[in-house]
């Protein structure tokens, strides 16, 4: 018995805007009357699907687990991207500019910033002391940590408005990784949890 449902056939349609034409022979019908101006609707002839052959682009998003992703990691990464832009701008300044830093300082500062990001430090404020160093600064209530980065030395200074509490210097060549959590611990006067991972994967 013929019913409305078994008489219905799927029909490929194509929608064109006013400036486009399909190759000859691809169309089954003249434009279908519609109120979709400025677009025109056509039925496609059998075998003409290659006219609009599609090219799939697939991307594996990520494995999805029930656990909640750590949002702060991506925020931290964004803040460090801004720090990277700032360092790039300091390098690009004119030779006579008082904010300009030298190339060797720039490379060491970028490396130190990348290490700080790995150790989940909050992104620091940055300022310069002339072309031969940049200073990263973190404030914690009345305590400040200043990390002065030059081409060959890393100098940490922990101070309050009243006095310098501690000053430590390291050569930048071959910095042991635990330097950064240790400095943070000294500034905050409490232990810092630093998780050493055996796995080599990247944080999200």
């Amino acid at each position: 018995m013929s019913t409305a449902s078994n008489r219905v056939r799927l029909q490929t349609l194509v929608v064109l805007d006013s400036g486009l034409e399909l190759p000859e022979g691809a169309l089954l019908s003249p434009p279908i009357a519609s109120d979709a101006e400025p677009y025109r609707l056509f039925a496609l002839s059998a075998g003409s699907s290659s006219v609009i052959t599609t090219q799939p682009e697939s991307q594996i998003l990520r494995t999805t687990f029930s656990s909640v992703p750590i949002v702060s990691n991506s925020e931290l990464r964004e803040e460090y991207q801004e720090l990277g832009v700032a360092l790039g701008e300091l390098l690009a300044m004119d030779a006579g500019d008082e904010w300009r830093i030298e190339k060797p300082v720039y490379y060491v500062a970028c490396h130190v910033a990348a290490e700080l990001m790995e150790y989940q430090y909050p992104a620091p404020e940055v300022f310069t002391h002339g072309p031969k160093s940049v200073v990263f600064n973190w404030s914690n209530e009345s305590t400040n940590l200043y990390l002065t980065v030059s081409a060959d030395t890393l100098s940490a200074l922990i101070s309050t408005p009243q006095r310098i509490q501690r000053r430590i210097e390291f050569p930048t060549n071959g910095l042991p990784g635990l330097v950064f959590p240790a400095l943070r611990s000294a500034q905050l006067e409490r232990p810092i949890v630093s998780i050493t991972k055996a796995a080599s994967d990247v944080e999200d």
Binding site: L20, E57, S58, L61, Y107, V108, A199
Partner: protein, 271 residues
């Protein structure tokens, strides 16, 4: 065990100390490892962001990412040219080709093509078997977890079990290596965007231009083999030796677990 395929593999080099003005971008790293230009390259947008390059190597998609503190070489299946609108999970069909590419990388590393000072290298390989249900995923996982560790799984979700069997390598400066094995139930989401081949054709079926999501359940076995950071930079032969050691271990362990991936069951240097 023909149901198991490689989802992806990665070799990572960890940098020690600041990089210099002559530091390699992803473009130059890609060219040095694969002796060809990539299909796409994105330069470093700022000094703390990565540069990226990727291209096809036969049925594989090779991608190189250079970060300030690490360089990653990723290998996955190149997308197949599917006409249908349904997303598919691309898996590496030819594990032998993957093994050849990984070996090519380790050989090139031994010749010193990475100009950065490195104190750590890593090899990661993930094998998966896609299944229609969570019950089937868990059953598959139980079949490959060794007797001493095997839990009793039925319909639990998000199963993960990971162990590390570190060893000291007397031949390479007494370095300690991590040999991590992870069994897990994975839910992998794939998004497909259909685009017209001819950019002039901007219109078409309603799904063109709209993302289509597909979700796949899979039993997964992954290996992460890496050395703990060495006290001084590794020489190129040491880097190569550690990676070859990792590949040999991965080949042996997948066989022990019963995956028997054809083409990935032995590791030899390229002639």
């Amino acid at each position: 065990m023909g149901e198991w395929k490689v989802l992806n593999a990665r070799i990572t080099f960890f940098t020690v100390g600041p990089v210099s003005s002559s530091d390699q971008s992803a473009l130059s790293v890609y060219r040095q490892f694969w002796e060809a230009d990539p299909d796409s390259f994105q330069k470093q947008p700022n000094p703390l962001a990565p540069s990226m390059a990727q291209g096809r190597r036969g049925g594989l998609l090779a991608a190189c990412t250079v970060n300030p503190t690490r360089t990653d070489l990723n290998l996955a299946a190149a997308d197949t040219d599917v006409q249908g609108p349904h997303p598919t999970l691309s898996l590496i069909e030819d594990a032998g080709q993957l093994r050849v590419e990984l070996t090519r990388i380790t050989d090139a590393v031994g010749r010193g093509v990475i100009s950065r000072a490195l104190n750590r290298v890593a090899l990661y390989v993930q094998f998966v078997a896609t299944k229609p249900t969570l019950l089937a995923v868990n059953k598959t996982l139980m079949s490959i977890i060794p007797d001493g560790y095997r839990p009793n799984l039925t319909d639990e979700e998000s199963f993960i079990f990971q162990i590390n069997r570190p060893q000291v390598l007397p031949d390479v400066e007494q370095l300690r290596m991590n040999y991590i094995t992870k069994w897990s139930a994975e839910s992998i989401r794939v998004v497909t965007m259909l685009l017209p081949r001819d950019p002039a054709v901007r219109m078409g079926p309603p799904n063109i231009g709209s993302p289509i999501f597909g979700e796949f359940l899979a039993a997964s076995l992954s290996f992460d083999i890496n050395n703990v950071p060495a006290p001084k930079p590794l020489t190129p032969p040491q880097q190569s030796s550690l990676l070859l050691n990792g590949m040999a271990w991965a080949a042996e362990t997948q066989r022990t677990c019963g995956l028997n991936i054809e083409g990935f069951d032995s590791v030899n240097r390229l002639e």
